[in-house]
C-alpha cells in the first residue's frame, strides 16, 4: 500500500455521529484560525518595531504556532479523507518546530524575566524621583538640624560670650578709672615721707589686681570669639535660606510671613555660625516686631545684594518700629520683657569683627530695616 494512499476517513471513528464530528471539526477549525492569526500578528509587530528584543525566537515561535495550526487543519481534512501520512508529515514538522522553539526559549528565559514593561519603567522612574526628593529633603532637614545644633551650642557659648562682651565693654571703663586712680594715689603717697610701706603696698596691689581683672576679661572674650580660625568662604544665600527654614515655625506662630530677595553674590569669607547668629538675631527681632503689628499683613524679609566691594544684607519688617527711648545696640537695654538686650550688641560686635557695619533705618509707616555689610576679602 502506497504511503500517500487514502485510508479510512477519521469520521468513521466518530461513527459519523454529527454532534461528535462537528464538535471536533469546529474546535479544530477555531484552533487553526487562532493559530494562523497569532503568527500574523507577531510578524506584523516585528515589521513595525525594528528593535523588538528576541526577534529570532519570536520568528521561531511564529513558525511553531503556524505548524500547530496546520496540524489542526489536517485533523479536519482527515475526518473525511484518510491522508494520515500527510497529516503525520505535518505533525513531524510541528514537532521539529516545537522542539526548536523550546530549545531557543530556555536560554533566554532569564533575559525575558529581566525585561521591564512600560508600566514597570514608569514606576521605576517615579520611584527614583521620589527617592531623590526624599534624599533632598533629608539633606535639607539635616542641614537645618545641624545649623540648629550649632546655634544651640553657640547659644550656650553665647550666653557667656554676651556676658564677656558686655562685661568687657562695661567693666573695662571703671577698671581703667580704678587703675589710673591707684596710680595717682601711689604718686601722691610716694611724695609724702610719712606714708607707711603698707599703704604703698596696698595701692600697688590695687593696681596689679586691676590689671589682672582686665586680663581675665580679655581671656574670656578671646575664648568666646575664637578669633578668625573658623572662617571659610560661605554661600551666604544658602545660609539665609537655612536660617529662614529654622525660624519658619516661629514665624508661623506669630502669623508672620518671611520673604526673601536673594541676589547672586560672591562668597564672603566669614564664620558661618556667627553670621547665622546675626541673621537669627535680626530675624527674631523682626518677627517679634511684626508680631506686635495688628494688621493682617505681617511680613518680614531678608535680602542680599552686592554693593561694590561689600555684600549688603537687609532685614526689614512692617512692624511698628522701635520703642521710644530705646537705644538699639546698647548692652543690657531691651524693650522685650524677656530679652537681655544683648542680641543687637552681640550682632554688631560680630559684624564689626568681620570688618563690616551694622545699623538700622526707620521710616514711619514702612517699618524698620536692619542692614549689615560684609566686605569681600581682597586677597
Amino acid at each position: 500500500m502506497n504511503f500517500l494512499e487514502s485510508f479510512m476517513p477519521h469520521g468513521m471513528c466518530y461513527a459519523w455521529r454529527p454532534d461528535i464530528l462537528w464538535l471536533h471539526v469546529f474546535s479544530d477549525a477555531a484552533i487553526a484560525i487562532a493559530y494562523f492569526t497569532i503568527p500574523y500578528a507577531l510578524v506584523r509587530t516585528l515589521r513595525k518595531r525594528k528593535y523588538t528584543p528576541f526577534r529570532g525566537t519570536v520568528v521561531m515561535f511564529s513558525i511553531f504556532i503556524l505548524a500547530c495550526g496546520v496540524t489542526h487543519a489536517m485533523s479536519i481534512v482527515v475526518v473525511w479523507n484518510g491522508y494520515y501520512a500527510i497529516q503525520g508529515v505535518f505533525k513531524a514538522i510541528t514537532a521539529i518546530a516545537s522542539i526548536g522553539t523550546a530549545i531557543m526559549l530556555y536560554p533566554i528565559m532569564p533575559q525575558v524575566f529581566a525585561l521591564r514593561s512600560p508600566v514597570e519603567l514608569e514606576l521605576e522612574e517615579s520611584n527614583s524621583a521620589l527617592q531623590q526628593e526624599m534624599d533632598q529633603r533629608k539633606r535639607t532637614e539635616e542641614q537645618s538640624l545641624e545649623l540648629q545644633n550649632e546655634l544651640a551650642h553657640i547659644g550656650r557659648l553665647t550666653t557667656m560670650g554676651q556676658m564677656a562682651t558686655g562685661l568687657a565693654h562695661e567693666l573695662n571703663q571703671p577698671l581703667l578709672a580704678i587703675s589710673q586712680s591707684a596710680d595717682t594715689a601711689l604718686l601722691s603717697a610716694q611724695e609724702n615721707a610719712s606714708t607707711s610701706a603698707e599703704l604703698l603696698e596696698c595701692l600697688e596691689d590695687i593696681q596689679s589686681q586691676t590689671q589682672r581683672a582686665g586680663e581675665i576679661i580679655r581671656a574670656l572674650r578671646q575664648f568666646v570669639s575664637k578669633d578668625t580660625a573658623t572662617r571659610s568662604d560661605l554661600d551666604l544665600n544658602s545660609l539665609v535660606e537655612q536660617t529662614i527654614r529654622l525660624l519658619n515655625s516661629d514665624a508661623l506662630k506669630h502669623n508672620v510671613k518671611i520673604e526673601s530677595d536673594l541676589n547672586p553674590i560672591p562668597n564672603p569669607n566669614v564664620d558661618r555660625v556667627q553670621i547665622a547668629q546675626v541673621l537669627v538675631n535680626l530675624l527674631r527681632n523682626s518677627i517679634d516686631a511684626v508680631g506686635a503689628n495688628h494688621s493682617h499683613n505681617r511680613r518680614t524679609s531678608v535680602g542680599t545684594h552686592l554693593d561694590g566691594e561689600e555684600i549688603v544684607v537687609v532685614v526689614k519688617d512692617n512692624g511698628p518700629g522701635l520703642d521710644d527711648g530705646i537705644v538699639p545696640f546698647k548692652p543690657f537695654e531691651s524693650s522685650k520683657s524677656e530679652g537681655m538686650g544683648m542680641g543687637l550688641s552681640i550682632s554688631r560686635s560680630i559684624v564689626e569683627s568681620h570688618g563690616g557695619k551694622l545699623w538700622f533705618e526707620e521710616a514711619a509707616g514702612i517699618g524698620t530695616r536692619f542692614i549689615f555689610t560684609l566686605p569681600l576679602t581682597r586677597s
Binding site: Q173, L176, A177, T184, L187, G214, R218
Partner: protein, 212 residues
Amino acid sequence: MSTVQSTVFLVDDDPSVRKTLPRGLIRRGFQVNAYESAKAFLDAYSTDQPGCLVLDLSMPEMDGLELQRELTHRNIAIPIIFITGHGGVPQSVQALKAGAIDFLEKPFLPDVLIRRIEEAFLQDQSTRSEQQKLASIREHFNRLTDRENEVLRLILEHQANLSSKQMAEILGISHRTVEQHRSRVLEKTQAKSTSNLLAMATLIGLIQSDIT
C-alpha cells in the same frame, strides 16, 4: 616753638575716664585737655597746638576711627594713641594702618600710656619742625619779584641746564640782567647752589618730584 608746651588731648565719652586719666598725667607734669566727644575736640582744637591725641575707639556719633579719618581729611597730622574697652583686632589694624601710634586695651598701665605719649610728642615735634622748615622755604620763595620768578621758572623747567645767555634770549633781556636776577634768586631763597634750589623747590611742591 619749643616754648609752647605739648598737650595731651583726651577724647573719651566716659566721664570716669575723663576724670581719672588726666589726674595722673597732670601729676606727672603733662598738660591735659579732655573732651567728651569727637565733635567737642574738633571744635576746640587748632592746629598750632602741639601735642597728641588719646582717643577712645567706641563713642556714640563720631567714633575714634571716624575722627581719625576726619583729621586726615582736614590734613591735621596730630599723632593718635587709641584706647579701647573692647579690643577689636580689625579696628586696631585699620587704626594702625592709618598712622596711629598704638592701640591700647583698657585697662592699661599708666606707664605704657606715658611711654606712648612721649613717643607721640617726639613724632609731633619732628612733624612740626619739618612743616616749619617747609613754611620758611615757602616764605623765602614768596619774596621773589615777578622778573625773578620768571628766571626761577626757567631754571626749574630746564633742570638748570640753560645758560644765562639762553635765558636772556628767551626773556628778551640782557645777559647781565639775567645774571643779576639769578644771583638774587639764590640769595633770597638762601639756596647754596642751583641743585640746592631745585631740591627746595621740590620740597615745597614747585616741581613734581617724579621728573626724571
